[in-house]
């Protein structure tokens, strides 16, 4: 999974004034107009789900793609965000404040989790993250105050306005994406990549691994938590076996990996595949969608670890070489 120049390459795409920024902006404008055009609710729902998955993918990518810290238990922050938002909204707090509070809670939790676990190397870190996530899931399943295994229902006084949910997700997605761009172009981002490539060497040149890791962990956790909160508000019912599930953690990993680990657009592509393609897959092949998914994963890992972005790059590189000769 080496994409050493990915950050530099990523930064190049968003150079101000280029066509490279106009096209995504146009696409964004189209999306923003979707609820206004009068499209059916199902499409809005699909896009909403896509946004949520993409946000979690971008968040994980910050930690796992840029900084190289592979967490297999990221659902814990997603779930914490979902429950914090749910509890606060039911207490009468304004939803946007609840989202903010979720971000804070998750960042705090990420500190508590990160300080001891970032000492670990190799698979132990990944396993520890699984342990943490599963422990929280079991605790939440038994905790009466949050409904325990029965789940928790959010009752909002306001009527359901799908467009509002859509926009809150879109705004969060935009913020997350811009944040990842900013990190990619910053010295902080370079430090993260340095840690990913060779942690002790990075330390030698003055990058403090622990503070960098904790910082990016906190950001990533905050984003994931807000995604969880926005989702919880929409679904109006959450459940420990759903938001804290091991499967959820794995999907959060799959999204940036399939799209392109460590790139900016990778999580976006992965999110699209996950939100839209996956659902079509399940609807059409209820008996075989796991098979297709697993096979796709195997192919990507073996043939093009850079994910879809990696494939696109190889193709465009061949084209360029061919046209140059």
């Amino acid at each position: 999974m080496r994409a050493a120049s990915s950050i530099a390459a990523a930064a190049r795409w968003v150079r101000p004034g280029g066509i490279a920024i106009l096209l995504p902006l146009a696409a964004w404008a189209v999306l923003a107009a979707v609820p206004w055009i009068g499209v059916e609710p199902n499409l809005v729902r699909l896009l909403f789900i896509t946004f949520i998955w993409t946000i979690t993918g971008i968040a994980w990518n910050l930690l796992g793609g840029f900084a190289g810290q592979v967490s297999f238990g990221f659902a814990v922050f997603y779930g914490l965000g979902a429950y914090t938002t749910a509890l606060l909204i039911n207490d009468g707090v304004h939803p946007y404040l609840a989202f903010g509070a979720s971000a804070l809670v998750a960042s705090l939790a990420s500190l508590i989790v990160g300080i001891p676990t970032f000492r670990l190397r190799g698979p132990y870190f990944a396993i520890a993250t699984i342990g943490v996530s599963e422990t929280v899931r079991v605790i939440m399943t038994n905790l009466a105050i949050t409904g325990g295994a029965s789940g928790y229902r959010i009752v909002e006084k306001r009527p359901f306005d799908q467009a509002e949910h859509f926009y809150s997700a879109l705004v969060l997605l935009t913020v997350s994406f811009l944040l990842s761009v900013w990190i990619a172009r910053s010295k902080f981002g370079l430090g993260l990549v340095a840690i990913r490539d060779h942690e002790s060497a990075a330390a030698d040149v003055g990058v403090n691994p622990l503070t960098h890791k904790l910082a990016v962990h906190g950001l990533a956790a905050a984003l994931a938590a807000m995604a969880g909160g926005v989702f919880a508000r929409y679904a109006a019912f959450i459940h420990p076996q759903g938001v804290f599930a091991f499967n959820t953690s794995v999907y959060i990993v799959l999204i940036p990996v399939i799209g392109g680990l460590g790139t900016l657009w990778g999580p976006v592509l992965g999110g699209v595949i996950f939100g839209i393609v996956e659902e079509q897959l399940v609807a059409t092949f209820p008996e075989a969608h796991l098979l297709i998914y697993g096979a796709l994963l195997i192919l990507i890992v073996l043939l093009e670890p850079g994910g879809i972005i990696g494939i696109v790059r190889k193709v465009s590189r061949h084209r360029r070489l061919r046209s140059a000769t």
Partner: protein, 297 residues
């Protein structure tokens, strides 16, 4: 609780440890040699269970025999999987994201193939031996669990012997300790990796076949075992079969005894809590703790 009840609990824990040990051995050696966290372990265990089931249903073969047969069959399957998929993974002395994802992908594929072939119903193997109990002093224990325990002990012993006395075993230990140094010392890493992977899957298949007699299963089978295997790897360290045994015993004891003091709903939390604590306090696992004591100065 009376002394007899305590004894019951302890014996139950030891027997459970046997089950845990036999299911984790496969994952441990693959991880140790190749630094691959085999997420597909659950999938191969599940296949092992169906293997024993099919042999039982069609040929009326005793499931115990099925478990022994599973070993060579899954050894071959393991080497095939290595040759098809695993050998293309980038070599590293750290587990890579690629290996994690590849194994997860394989697990997904195995699960779904099983759904397509066998459907989603729960299957189980029911023989005249299923409810047989044996008397050990004042205690009544399930005979099948005793047998599983015996198989676990025997396989761990055999594994330990192989690791200690054969050339292959020494290659494996060399690669576990330091891959590059092992190569320098003349170990054929490719071949050893292939054999190790085969061995790991063989153990997984055998464990699954054994567990098929004890539990009911469906294509989702193996997930709680997979997660517990992680815990055992971490607890026991990776150097030897005794590490696995130690880890299994500690986990089984913690779970069985812990649940007496904690509401039953928190059983899993005990396992994971233990995992997290051990990781933080003893990053090398418990075995490392013992090893340090006895290493020559």
């Amino acid at each position: 609780m009376a002394a007899l009840d305590w004894l019951n609990v302890l014996v139950a824990a030891i027997l459970l440890a046997g089950i845990y040990a036999v299911m984790s051995v496969g994952m441990t050696i693959i991880y140790g040699v190749m630094k691959i966290v085999n997420l597909a372990h659950a999938g191969f265990m599940m296949l092992g269970a169906y293997f024993a089931y099919e042999l039982f249903e069609r040929l009326h073969l005793d499931p115990l025999l099925g478990a022994f047969l599973a070993f060579p069959v899954f050894f071959v399957i393991g080497r095939l999987v290595y040759w098809l998929f695993v050998r293309w993974l980038p070599v590293s002395d750290q587990p890579t994201l690629a290996s994690l994802l590849l194994m997860f992908g394989i697990w997904l594929v195995l699960q779904n193939l099983a759904y397509l072939v066998w459907g989603n119903e729960d299957r189980s193997i029911f023989t005249s031996r299923t409810f047989l109990t044996s008397q050990i002093g004042p205690l009544t224990v399930s005979t099948l669990r005793l047998v599983a325990f015996a198989v676990a002990v025997v396989s761990l012993l055999v594994l330990e012997l192989v690791l200690r006395w054969t050339w292959f075993g020494r290659s494996v230990r060399a690669l576990i300790q330091n891959r590059y140094a092992g190569q320098l010392a003349g170990v054929d890493t490719r071949r050893t990796a292939s054999l190790t992977f085969g061995l790991g899957i063989a153990f997984a298949g055998m464990a699954g076949a054994l567990l098929a007699s004890l539990y009911s299963f469906n294509p989702d089978f193996g997930r709680p075992f997979l997660i517990r295997s992680f815990v055992i790897i971490v607890l026991g360290g990776l150097e030897s079969a005794s590490g696995v045994a130690l880890g299994a015993v500690v986990l089984a004891l913690a779970e069985t005894v812990g649940i007496l003091f904690v509401p039953a709903g928190y059983q899993l939390a005990i396992s994971f809590g233990l995992l997290v604590v051990v990781l933080l306090v003893l990053p090398g696992g418990l075995a490392r703790l013992f090893a340090r004591k006895y290493r020559p100065a």
